[in-house]
Symmetry: C2
Subunit: 317 residues, 2 copies
């Protein structure tokens, strides 16, 4: 069993709530702080409903109230991080704000605490450098919704200590996340670069009339998404030839190289006519007034998929 | 209920077998022809085992022998396509071969038959143009393994009639495939262009030391692959803001445009050192002598995922 830790979530918005629920579900103590004193009680009320939904979907076994009882509202940032082992910053994506919060965290948190940022695109060194404790600071970028898509990018700043990565990765694993290591800073980290590389090509194909947005989504839903949900990009190739990836690249390398040469490797301007075309297609199936209901559908689907893959581990390895 | 059709599969390799099983599972009659007369009996023996696996995984209800009984070995191409409603060509990806086969099919098949090619990269007009019946010819590109990843790209050649698309799409739907329409010829069609746009960026990130191949695969397995398996690329954005895709692109459009500008939009040469690095990582988990066993694992995982999504339709819409 993993040791139960003292954790803090700084910011009680969407992302702060998601982390708090994950930490508490795994048995860790959570201190929740927000500079707006009304936010944590509101977050607790929301979390009661969200946790009930998650429990109904089989995502955890404890009683909802037992999980909620592990989340305590902290009256100040300093109180939140007192004796903390792991601190997750979840404030807005604003450089000056993150600078201020990290300065305060580095002053207030005990020496052994990890300071992790839910950063989504700002290079982490811009708010982690020049801190006395920059060695224990690290980026920890989740994917939305974080408690249903269990991967977190751990981003090394130039001063992050290797041990900080190891401890953060072990902690995130204990709460059900799969940590991936981004060794050096780069805009968009890896997840969003991968995501927008494919979106960029899709936008080109739609704009030039080769395919509709609906059919791009069908290719992902019934083809590439399923393939990658099971194998990722490279294991898919490794299993596409009996001699593994070397065999695959020997057989198909020339075709793949030609294809990569042919891709339209220019950024799509994402102009208003194209947005209008794609949004128009989507709104036929999900009009704007049904987006929130469809988000609930998404969350049920993602939870069920998580449960499905968990059960497959014992069934087929 | 869909009308039961007379179908022919020309070529009894991997892809021919996959189509034959799908057509027969759906109740259609299949004539299987291969210019190598030993191939169809060998294919039938293989299919008996594959169908038993698929039945064990819950992919169809009929008895295996009842499905097999619908697949008949044809002594000639002409016999295979006699009275056929739908013909699926599954020969090697070789332009001259496909030209010869399509000329023979166009001469022998009844006027009303659809002639579909399991083409994977050759522009379809190169073997469909100049045929008397070019209007009833269409590309039908599956994704491997075709009976477990249910999407088919239907590629319009300049002379393909709209009615040919409609009939081919209806037939493929009847066998459990989701047809997507590629309106004009383009190298790689859509599926492989999307696939290699993301692979190209992943290769760059690995080569430059930002991330390991294993962690790229983890991002796909636990993050982007799951997201896209449920929503595709664009519905994911539509549900990421309460006002739908327009709202999402209004809020995040500038960041997305900057990110697309920053992507390394140059083709990766996929050199030997990089292949060696990535293959070496994969072989730690799945050594070459375990690739075939892991392919069986992949197929069980894909079949279970298909069953899972089928059951979710009735559960959550």
């Amino acid at each position: 069993m993993t040791k139960k830790l003292i954790t803090a979530c700084i910011g009680a918005g969407n992302i702060g709530r998601a982390w708090a629920m994950m930490f508490a579900r795994a048995g860790h103590e959570v201190r929740l702080f927000d500079q707006n004193a009304d936010a944590p009680p509101a977050a607790l009320a929301l979390m009661r409903g969200l946790l009930a939904d998650q429990k109904a979907l089989g995502l955890f076994d404890d009683e909802v109230e037992a999980v909620l009882a592990r989340i305590k509202v902290a009256p100040s940032l300093e109180a939140a991080v007192k004796n903390a082992d792991y601190v997750q910053e979840c404030v807005y994506e604003d450089l000056e704000l993150k600078r201020r919060v990290f300065q305060a965290l580095d002053r207030a948190a005990p020496e052994g605490a990890i300071l992790a940022s839910s950063v989504s695109s700002i290079p982490v060194s811009q708010f982690m450098e020049n801190l006395a404790g920059s060695r224990r600071c690290i980026g920890a970028h989740p994917i939305n919704p974080p408690h249903l898509l269990p991967v977190t990018e751990l981003i090394m700043s130039p001063s992050t200590a290797p041990a900080t990565y190891e401890r953060a990765a072990a902690f995130l694993t204990s709460v059900g996340q799969v940590p991936v290591r981004i060794n050096k800073e780069i805009f968009g980290f890896a997840l969003n670069r991968l995501q927008f590389a494919i979106v960029n090509e899709a936008l080109h194909l739609i704009e030039q009339g080769y395919i509709s947005a609906t059919d791009v989504d069908n290719i992902m839903k019934f083809g590439l998404g399923r393939r990658w949900a099971i194998m990722g990009l490279f294991e898919a190739g490794h299993l596409n030839a009996n001699g593994g990836l070397r065999d695959y690249y020997t057989k198909f390398g020339e075709t793949i190289r030609s294809l990569m040469q042919e891709l339209v490797l220019t950024p799509n301007p994402l102009g208003p006519a194209l947005v209008d075309e794609i949004a128009g297609e989507l709104e036929k199936t999900t009009p704007i007034d049904q987006v929130v209901a469809r988000q609930a559908w998404r969350d049920r689907q993602l939870a069920a998929l998580m449960t499905h893959f968990e059960s497959m581990k014992t069934k087929v390895g």
